[in-house]
């Protein structure tokens, strides 16, 4: 039986308009949800940051940019920002550059079983929620009963034992170490997937030409996972400026505000000091910083797409 092609109806302006409206109606729910739950709160937050807001009486007094002026003179805001930057730098080193290297090493292993096994081993910490991991490490770091000091004591390094989370000099680093442990495997897995997409012919040709594994990594792997690297840099830096859970669980920003990050300082001002206007100003800073980083990164990566 012969099939007869049905001619499409003529594209009249009216029909095109209807089709466009129909198409828009499909995306409308997502647009409304995004608008209400993402963009509207952003705008509202900007408004709140210009208020002195008493949550008890409900009074809201417009004070213009006073909360932003207060930020400039708040030493804990700056130390919090510094902690976020430290977090971002260390996370970049471990979760982006360290993870690429590890992924490349894992993917270069010939044994399929070992490759899969190692990927799983590195990924397991990422399957644990950050809050649970924070609690786990809180007990590892506990000065009297914690595993870390216990191990140090028993391998003859008792002098290195510290109240890791209890003193200003070590608390922030201890939290960041936990965070790297938790997030490292996830980044490694993503890079491993990106490396798997690189055509094996390129590596084979390079090997025939006598190029060693280190040079292959720099001349083949790195350029061809550039997109994933860009994405991971954005995600890692943005994540570093949104840190909250692990700090709350492990130190709540203490001791003496030494582990405050922007997120916990925001929380402390809102929920402890009742200064919700100032907390909204800090939230705006976090938004601007993360948006700025994302835009810069996207701009840098805009023409570097590699096709093969």
């Amino acid at each position: 039986m012969a099939l007869t092609a049905v001619a499409p109806p003529p594209r009249t302006p009216r029909r095109v308009g209807v089709r466009r409206l129909l198409g828009l109606s499909w995306i409308l729910p997502a647009v409304v949800v995004l608008g209400v739950f993402v963009y509207l709160p952003l705008v509202q937050n900007l408004g709140f940051s210009t208020l002195e807001w008493d949550i008890y009486s409900g009074s809201q007094v417009f004070i213009g940019a006073d909360n932003y002026a207060k930020l400039v003179g708040d030493p804990i805001f700056w130390s919090s920002l510094g902690n976020n930057v430290l977090y971002a730098v260390i996370s970049l080193a471990f979760q982006v550059f360290g993870a690429i290297v590890l992924a490349a090493v894992i993917e270069s292993i010939r044994s399929d079983r070992w490759r899969r096994g190692l990927r799983a081993i590195y990924f397991v910490p990422s399957a644990i929620s950050l809050t649970v991991a924070g609690l786990l490490f809180y007990f590892i770091y506990e000065p009297n009963l914690g595993m870390l000091n216990y191990v140090l004591d028993h391998v003859g390094l008792g002098a290195w034992a510290q109240p890791w989370l209890g003193q200003e000099s070590t608390a922030m680093t201890a939290i960041i170490v936990m965070s790297q442990w938790q997030g490292f495997g996830y980044s490694t897995l993503l890079f491993a997937v990106a490396i798997q997409r690189v055509p094996s012919e390129l590596y084979e040709a390079a090997a025939i030409d006598g190029i060693g594994p280190v040079r292959r990594f720099f001349t083949i792997t790195l350029p061809l996972v550039r997109e994933m690297t860009g994405l991971m840099i954005i995600v890692t830096i943005s994540g570093a400026f949104q840190v909250f859970n692990e700090v709350m669980v492990m130190t709540s920003g203490g001791p003496n505000n030494s582990t405050q990050v922007l997120g916990t300082w925001l929380y402390r001002n809102g929920f402890v000091r009742n200064d919700f206007g100032y907390a909204a100003a800090i939230a705006t800073v976090i938004f601007v910083v993360t948006l700025g980083i994302a835009l810069v990164q996207l701009w840098i990566n805009r023409r570097r797409r590699v096709e093969w």
Partner: protein
């Protein structure tokens, strides 16, 4: 272009509708009539601080019994812990969703709700001259009195004491110290015998404030101390503050095993050190007495003793002061079921229910007269509450008596003092700055 306009218009319409709905929800409700005859129907919401074991079942049983008496009433419990109730209360307040009955501390915490018009004036039902009010100790009622009006329903009383293991004291040959200096001196022999002299965990910051407030009460003249709680009258220049901070630092360095690392230890870990027989002493609230001596612990009620933190020699403040205050409940001034809420709280504070609250496993010494007796409560709880009732001055917790900015500065200062990050002078300076900024 049309598509963009259409999308934007749709989003704006939806957003506006939701915003307007939110505004409508926030409109002022009529003031609660707490004297009205309760209508026994509907849902009564209650925010408690009794989340988890062993306290959780208390309100659950209470709610079940009340629902049995009044089948058309449903009691909806929101049970939080000591730490989480702070965030929960503020979130519910900011979103205009406070329950009908909600937990409160005394001091600045309750004052905020009273000033904000969120706490119903209960004078006509719980004032000292009323039938219900007469069932409470007058000092407990006064803790929630502002300008002659009574706002709170005090549920239980509380105070801070040094709990100690009498068997360890006997083994080491130590008497209960009568001065702060004797307390410090007792630490060395206890440590030599293999025990942590005083278990202390300050991860949350507030345990340090409890020591500090008691020492302030001893070292700073009472009128000066009370003036210093309010930023508008505070000077914070009494030498007793520096003395107290130095004494506290000495205690941390000499008597705890964790020393400068105490900020990394949970208060519950310290509590367990006493309960497990590893530590000789632990500074604790009456509310914790039955927990440290609960069944299964090494520390038994027979081996558990308490004493007030000993007064330092030559202290210029009030030697008979004890840190503590009642904790209780407020009724939402905008609740349409305020009369029912009052009725429920009357039910919660009957002598029978108050006695249950005061007895193990709950061990929360009720403010209802006659509920705490040697027969119904544990020996330590009875002794503690007797000392609280006999105290010459009851000083409210430092983290709730003053404004949050100042309390937060004390909290950070206490941590810095423990870790060695700040000197007593630097701590006091930072608190003074916070107080000046809050004026």
């Amino acid at each position: 272009m049309h598509a963009q306009r259409f999308t934007a218009a749709a989003a704006l319409a939806a957003a506006s509708a939701l915003t307007m709905a939110g505004c409508a929800g926030g409109s002022a409700a009529p003031a609660a009539d707490v004297t009205a005859e309760p209508e026994y129907s509907g849902t009564l919401s209650i925010l408690t601080k009794f989340g988890g074991d062993p306290l959780g079942p208390y309100f659950e049983n209470l709610a079940a019994a009340y629902e049995e008496e009044h089948p058309d009433v449903t009691v909806e419990l929101i049970q939080e812990t000591d730490q989480s109730v702070k965030d929960k209360t503020k979130t519910l307040t900011a979103s205009g969703a406070l329950p009908d009955i909600y937990f409160t501390w005394t001091g600045n915490w309750a004052q905020n709700f009273i000033d904000g018009g969120l706490a119903a004036d209960l004078t006509d039902v719980i004032g000292p001259d009323t039938e219900w009010g007469a069932t409470f100790g007058e000092a407990s009622l006064s803790a929630f009195e502002v300008d002659g009006k009574y706002y709170g329903i005090p549920l239980y009383n509380n105070g801070k004491f040094m709990g100690y293991n009498t068997a360890i004291f006997e083994e080491v040959g130590i008497e209960v110290p009568t001065t702060f200096e004797e307390l410090i001196a007792s630490c060395e022999p206890l440590r030599a015998a293999g025990y942590e002299p005083i278990a202390f965990g300050n991860k949350d910051g507030w345990p340090a404030l409890h020591y500090l407030q008691q020492l302030f009460a001893y070292n700073v003249p009472s009128d000066v101390l009370h003036d210093d709680f309010s930023p508008s009258t505070a000077t914070l220049d009494d030498p007793g503050y520096i003395t107290s901070l130095e004494q506290f630092k000495t205690l941390v360095d000499e008597c705890t095993d964790t020393g400068t690392g105490t900020n990394g230890v949970l208060y519950t870990t310290a509590q367990e050190a006493l309960a497990g027989g590893r530590a000789a002493m632990y500074y604790q609230e009456i509310l914790e007495f039955d927990t440290v001596t609960a069944e299964g612990n090494t520390l038994t009620p027979e081996n558990f003793g308490i004493f007030a933190l000993p007064v330092p020699e030559g202290a210029a403040g009030e030697p008979g002061a004890i840190e503590g205050s009642p904790e209780g409940y407020l009724i939402n001034a905008k609740s349409p079921r305020a009369a029912l809420a009052v009725d429920f709280m009357k039910f919660a504070t009957t002598l029978e229910n108050a006695t249950t609250l005061s007895s193990p496993p709950y061990g929360q010494p009720s403010t209802v007269v006659g509920a705490v007796t040697p027969e119904t409560s544990s020996v330590a709880v009875f002794e503690g509450i007797t000392k609280v009732n006999e105290a010459s001055d009851l000083v409210i917790w430092l983290d709730t008596v003053t404004v949050p900015e100042v309390a937060d500065a004390w909290l950070a200062g206490g941590e810095a003092l423990i870790s060695g990050g700040s000197t007593p002078e630097e701590v006091l300076e930072s608190v003074r700055n916070a107080s000046d900024a809050a004026k």
